[in-house]
C-alpha cells in the first residue's frame, strides 16, 4: 500500500484523534513562538516583534477554538470567536511587516490603543457578521487570501532587497506563499468538495509545515551565539 494511502486511511479511521492532535500541535507551536518573542519584545519594545507575537497568540487561541468547532452543540457560539482570532491573527502578521510605514518606533502601551489595529478589529467584526448572515466562511476565506497575497508580495520584496544578507527571508517568503495556497485550497475544498477529508488532509499538512517552519526560524534566530 503506498505511504500516502496508508497515512490517509490511518487519519480517516482516527479522525477525531487526528483533529485533536493537529489543533494541539499548532497551538503548542504558537505557545513556544509567543514565549520566545515575548521575551524579545519585553527587552526591546520593538513594535514589529509585538505584532508578530500577537499574531501567534491569536493563532494559538484560534486553533484551540477550531478543535471545539467540531462539536456541533456549541458551534454557533464558538464560530464568531474562532473567526475573530483567526482573522485578527492574519491582520497582525501582515501588519508586523508593514507597521514602519504607519507609526513611529515608539509605539503605544497596548496594541488595541492603536487606531490601525482598531480598524482591523472593525473589519474583522464586519467579516464575522457577513459570514453569519451568509452562513458561510466565504468572507473569512477571501480576507485571508487577500492578506496572505499581500504578505507574499511584501516578503518577496524583503527577500529581493536583503535576502543575501539575511537567509531566513527566503524561507519567510516561501511560507507566506504556502499560507496563501493553504487558504485558497481551504476555500476550494470547503466550497466545492464539502470539506472532504481526502482533500482537507493536504491543507492540514500544509498548515503543519508552515507553523513548523515558523517555529524553526524563531528557535534558530533567538538562540544565543557564542
Amino acid at each position: 500500500m503506498p505511504l500516502y494511502s496508508y497515512a490517509y486511511n490511518l487519519i480517516a479511521e482516527n479522525i477525531e484523534l487526528f483533529r485533536f492532535f493537529y489543533s494541539m500541535l499548532i497551538a503548542f507551536i504558537c505557545l513556544i513562538v509567543v514565549i520566545k518573542t515575548d521575551r524579545l519584545f519585553r527587552i526591546s519594545f520593538h513594535q514589529g516583534i509585538r505584532y508578530f507575537r500577537n499574531a501567534f497568540f491569536f493563532y494559538g487561541i484560534a486553533f484551540i477554538l477550531r478543535y471545539s468547532l467540531a462539536y456541533g452543540s456549541y458551534f454557533f457560539l464558538i464560530k464568531p470567536f474562532f473567526q475573530f482570532f483567526m482573522i485578527m491573527a492574519g491582520f497582525f502578521l501582515l501588519y508586523s511587516l508593514l507597521w514602519k510605514k504607519f507609526e513611529t518606533s515608539k509605539g503605544s502601551k497596548s496594541s488595541f490603543f492603536n487606531p490601525i489595529i482598531f480598524v482591523f478589529c472593525m473589519i474583522t467584526l464586519i467579516i464575522i457578521f457577513l459570514d453569519y448572515l451568509w452562513v458561510s466562511y466565504y468572507f473569512m476565506f477571501f480576507s485571508q487570501i487577500l492578506l496572505f497575497g499581500l504578505a507574499s508580495i511584501i516578503s518577496c520584496k524583503n527577500y529581493k532587497q536583503n535576502g543575501k544578507k539575511h537567509k531566513f527571508l527566503k524561507l519567510y517568503f516561501i511560507i507566506m506563499i504556502l499560507s496563501f495556497f493553504a487558504w485558497v485550497f481551504n476555500f476550494i475544498f470547503g466550497s466545492f468538495f464539502n470539506w472532504r477529508l481526502r482533500w482537507l488532509a493536504n491543507v492540514y499538512a500544509l498548515n503543519i509545515i508552515v507553523f513548523l517552519v515558523f517555529l524553526y526560524g524563531v528557535i534558530k534566530l533567538t538562540k544565543k551565539q557564542n
Binding site: T104, S155, H166, L169, G217, T222, K224
Partner: protein, 90 residues
Amino acid sequence: MAKKRERLDIIKDIIYSIRENRNIKPTRLLYSSNLSPQMFKDYINELITKGFITLDVDKKEKKTFSLTQKGNNFLEEYRIIERFVENFGL
C-alpha cells in the same frame, strides 16, 4: 542620505557609550548620543526606569551614568533582537 536610526539602535548606542566610557557625564553622553536634549531626556528616563542604567551623584554633586548588569545583558540580547527583526523583515 544616512539611514535614520531606529529606537532600538539609539538605545544600543547610548548603552554602548556608557559601557565604553564607564561613569560617563550627562553632557558627554548627550553629545555622543547625537540626540536633541528632549529626546535624550526621554531615552535616559526610559533606560533608568527599565533598570539598564543608573544615575550616580557623588559628594560634589557630580552626576555620572553607569551601566547595570541588566544593561550589559541588553547588549548581548540586542544582537539576537537585531538578527530576529532583520530575518523576519519586521
